[in-house]
């Protein structure tokens, strides 16, 4: 059997790079929030320190097997999502496992992390966790619909579900899908706000109301795993959106610039806005984003 060394290299390095970039973006978010609030803010590597501290906790209480598995499911989903997204266009190392039909597969695997978290949080028996999980899953139903609409519109338009084919279509910046199918982009980016979980869609982890929701009973390394997973997942989602709408990136500098611009959309929205209740956020997702999604499909079909 032939060993594909470049794939192995990619498998090893992609999550590490994703973690570093995701953590740095998390730290940047805190700095930017602080500057907006007229504060100096923490150092940019603050999130990394937090994660190291959480891993170095000496006691880690758990309430059962599922609480072990919940964060593991979450990180599995994040890393798997990352593996099926081509990080760098036309690169042999960072293409990883993108194969035919991967958009539909990604739609499934992106939900898996939330479900794993829900199972883990359910084991803890904390009422705040249960409330947070129910809010989170309701909101998931909310933003998945416009997101799927947007992806379906793109699939119909280009007659493919393969991300590499989509990347091949966008060989010049005038042909980026953001320009070819703007309504799909609008629907997807509004769903993206909900996916990232910043305000106004942060009712899931509302710290003052339900004590940080699902992870309220998680401490130490479990919380550390969750934060790691969150960092990787953030990067994976950003790369996915860059690949679909912004024509991917052929080197790391371009990738960082594009993902950073995309990332600033939910972050800056989050700083400005207060919080939606669950039913308000679902109502929001099922009004304008859904409308844009339907328009996108109609434009493609007719």
């Amino acid at each position: 059997m032939e060993i594909n060394w470049s794939t192995i290299l990619g498998i090893i390095f992609t999550p590490i790079i994703a973690f570093i970039v995701g953590v740095t973006y998390g730290g940047l978010t805190r700095v930017i929030t602080a500057r907006v609030q007229n504060r100096y803010g923490p150092p940019i590597f603050q999130n990394l320190l937090d994660i190291i501290k959480l891993y170095s906790k000496e006691s880690n209480i758990n309430h059962g097997v599922m609480q072990h598995l919940g964060p593991v499911f979450a990180i599995t989903a994040s890393v798997t999502t990352l593996f099926f997204v081509p990080v760098i266009k036309d690169s042999t190392v960072f293409t990883n496992f993108s194969f035919h039909g991967d958009l539909i597969f990604l739609l499934y695997i992106m939900v898996f992390g939330s479900l794993g978290m829900a199972l883990g949080a359910g084991q803890t028996g904390n009422p705040n966790s249960a409330i947070g999980v129910s809010r989170g899953l309701s909101q998931l139903v909310g933003y998945e619909v416009p997101f799927v609409m947007a992806l379906v519109a793109i699939m119909i338009q280009f007659q493919t579900t393969n991300l590499n084919d989509l990347l091949a279509v966008q060989d010049h910046f005038t042909k980026w899908i953001i320009f070819q199918s703007p309504f799909a982009f609008l629907a997807a980016i509004l769903a993206f706000l909900g996916m990232m979980g910043y305000a106004p869609f942060d009712v899931v982890i509302a710290p003052a109301e339900i004590a940080s929701g699902p992870p309220s009973e998680f401490g130490g390394k479990y919380l550390g795993l969750m934060l790691t997973s969150r960092s990787i997942f953030t990067f994976a989602k950003l790369v996915l959106f860059t690949d679909i709408f912004l024509g991917g990136a052929s080197d790391f500098i371009t990738l960082l610039i594009k993902t950073f611009i995309l990332y600033m959309i939910p972050v800056l929205t989050g700083i400005v806005f207060p919080r939606y209740r669950t039913e308000q956020s679902i109502r929001f997702f099922w009004s304008w984003p859904l409308f844009f999604g339907i328009i996108a499909i109609l434009v493609v079909v007719f």
């Binding site: 504060r39 501290k53 170095s56 000496e58 209480i61 309220s216 998680f218 919380l223």
Partner: protein, 181 residues
């Protein structure tokens, strides 16, 4: 060759560095001291510069701030909160009420010396301490952590009998669950 002792020393330094710069507080908010925390955390004094951040639940937290007098009824809850926290954990006594009773020195329902009931790492003096004093207390705690001297949780486990005896003396009807922290 690879030296086991030296390697663990280096790991300890990294761990202590991370612990020192990432203090999550579960602000229990007893007494009047809780009002000093909003200015400490917000833009005037900005404690987030030092990695100090609020956390929602005791499971996620590192530092327990006792912000003021502790009535017997509250002490019960504070002990439960403290025992739910994950090690290493630190306690900061805040204001003169936690040190010697302060202005509640003759009250029938407040304890007068916090370190008889919980292992205190740092006391911050004042009634109430201003945010500068709070931040200087946190920096003192950071120094202790860097030197590996902030071992309140270890002391609590080693002298558990003594602490329990004191707690039971005050809390007459002891109906507390046992935690395997």
């Amino acid at each position: 060759m690879y030296n086991d002792k030296e390697a663990s020393k280096i790991v300890d330094i990294i761990k202590n560095f991370a612990r020192k710069h990432s203090l999550w507080i579960v602000a229990y908010g007893t007494g009047c001291g809780a009002i000093e925390l909003p200015p400490t955390m917000t833009s005037r004094y900005d404690a987030e510069r030092f990695g100090i951040r609020g956390s929602a639940t005791p499971r996620q937290a590192d530092v327990l701030l006792i912000t003021g007098y502790l009535s017997v009824k509250t002490l019960k809850r504070v002990i439960r909160t403290y025992e739910q926290m994950q090690e290493p954990k630190y306690v900061i006594g805040f204001g003169s009420c936690t040190i010697n009773g302060g202005m509640y020195w003759d009250s029938y329902n407040t304890i007068k010396a916090l370190d008889r009931y919980l292992p205190v790492d740092v006391y911050i003096n004042g009634c109430m301490p201003r945010p500068e004093a709070v931040i200087s207390g946190f920096i003192k705690l950071q120094e202790l952590i860097a030197q590996g001297k902030a071992d309140g949780a270890k002391r609590y486990q080693e002298n558990l009998e003594w602490y329990r005896e004191n707690q039971r003396k005050v809390i007459k009807n002891w109906r507390m669950p046992e935690y395997n922290w």
